[in-house]
Structures are given as C-alpha cells and as structure tokens.
Symmetry: C2
Amino acid sequence: MDPTFAIVNWADGSLDSPKLRSSTKKLGQLKGIFRDEDSWQRMDHETVVYRVWWWEPVTPGTEGGLFWGTTEILPGRVGQEYFMTHGHQHAVLDRAEFYGTVAGKGMLILRDENSRNRHEEMSPGSLHYIAGKTAHRVVNTGDTPLRFVACWPSDAGHDYATIAENGFGMRVMENHGKPSVMGDGEV
Amino acid sequence: MDPTFAIVNWADGSLDSPKLRSSTKKLGQLKGIFRDEDSWQRMDHETVVYRVWWWEPVTPGTEGGLFWGTTEILPGRVGQEYFMTHGHQHAVLDRAEFYGTVAGKGMLILRDENSRNRHEEMSPGSLHYIAGKTAHRVVNTGDTPLRFVACWPSDAGHDYATIAENGFGMRVMENHGKPSVMGDGEV
C-alpha cells in the first residue's frame, strides 16, 4: 500500500493504513471532566471511554496540510452524565475542523471565543463545521458506539488546558431516560 | 436546519444542506482536455461529464477554514480516453486536500511541483492525500458514476491555467477493455 493512501470503511468510519496512529482514553485519565466526582471515583478507571485513530500524511505543524481521523466514543455514563471526549480547542486558534457522523447518536458541544455555547445533534450523516476559535467536545447520548470521521489542518495543534480551566458551560445529562443539555451549574 | 450543518449520505457521498453550491461541467466546456479532438468534436457537447456539490461554511479565502464537497464523474469516454475532471492545483500552492472515494472506480492523477507524476487507484473507501503543490485530476475508469467526498482549506483557491498549459504528463486510456495509464505522448 502506498504511504499516501488509507482505507476508510464508510459503514463504521474505521480506518486502515500502515501509518495509522491511535490513542485510547480511559476513565482514569478523565479526572475532573465529569460533574459527579463520587461516581467517577467508584467506577473502574480502566474503562475505555473513547479511542481515536488518525492519519498524519505530513509532519504535524505543516502549514496547508491536513489530517484525517476517526473517533469512537463508547456508550456509558458517569452518574447521569454521558461519556464524552475531553474536549479541546486548536493551539493555532483560527484552525477549523469537520466532523462527519458515521454511526450512533450524540451531541457536539461548542464554545466560541466569546464563551457562547451551542450544541448540534449528531446522527449518521450529520456533517458539522467547527469554526476556528471554537472549543469542541463530543458526547455519546446513545446506547451504541458513536463514530465520526474528522478532517483538520495539520498545523492546528491541540490546546486542552484552556477548556480544562474554563469548562464548556454546558453538560449533557440523562434525564428520565433522555439526553438533556443543561448549563454547568444547573441540577 | 442550522446553517452550520449538512447531511452526507455515506452510501453515495451525496450532500444535503440549505447552503449547498454546485457546478456542472459539460463536454463542451472541456475543450483541449482530451487527446482525441476529432472524437470530442463529434460528440454531444451538452453531455454532462461531472458535477460538484460543496459546502462553504465560511467565506472563500478565510485562513484556517475548511470546505467540504462531493464530486460525481459520469462514466464515458472521448475516443479511448475516459471521462475526467479538468484538473487543477491550488492558487495558494501549499494547500493540501483529502479525497475519499464513496462509489465507483477511478484513478487519481497527480503531478507535483517538480513535474513528477503519480497515480493512485480509487475504489470505495480509498482515502487519498493530495499534498500541497500537487496538481490533481480524477478519471472515471468504471461503468458507473465515480463519487468521492473532498475536504480542502477555504483559502486554497483554484488555479486551472497552469495545468491547462502544462498538462498532467499522463493520460488514462481504455486499452483492450482495461484502463491503461500512459505518458502524454504515448500511443
């Protein structure tokens, strides 16, 4: 297989390439992310929350280049709060990103540079534009793995610290069996 | 539907969005592209060769932004040469692009800044990285429509003139019922 070549399975978003990179995030690595710290403490910290596979055809930092990846978020909750990604904004702030949902059901949580929140529902086929200067997090609100493909600039980088400090200002909690988006302080 | 939202059908790559743009290229608009000018002259110039639909969530020229599109190349030939796109490189030369094949069979023709040629076979699931400074053209070598999704920087722009002048240095011709990649001058 040519190094400038990968295979994507459009049925589930899975990627195959000799140059694939991957990362697995377990519950123990997501301290402070979920509201219910007691529930988080009691759960098995080895539980996988999400995995990312991605292809970097060029060196990170290359201007004008692009990366392609797939994320899988497993179904689950910490207390009433659904499993979700850590969330980040790009280190080079104006860099955008596309998310394209392939399987499952979820919510894309966005927070722009003026701390304005927005959320978009994710379902198979939904294509989401994450504008520059916008922090983004994905929540699996379904009973099956949520999978989406992504395309982003190779010089975007990741800034996890800002959002870890400021939060997203909204959370997605199960409420009478249904996902409910609420403000950070709401109960 | 939110303006920052679109729907992609992963089975055929088709896009649905209230902000969708589209372009149709007919045979008559592809003068000088195919080698066999006599055959081209005799064919119906209203024949559609390819269509592109794309979503521009931000203004063209925006640094750090991205666009998403779908291209459909219809099956057909001009003489022995398969239907194909005009081909272009990006006006901002270092801007890359991803192509992801969804349906059909084809060939991606690439020509880098040093006039080196390369081609990659396209089939459902094949994901192609088109590096910066690389002119690109797609050829439908099958009997059905070739469809692929694409993601590219919103400040990439299009330069058709350079490739119109220099050509790609290779062509894909039917040879005993099979696609054959040959140099521009080869018969």
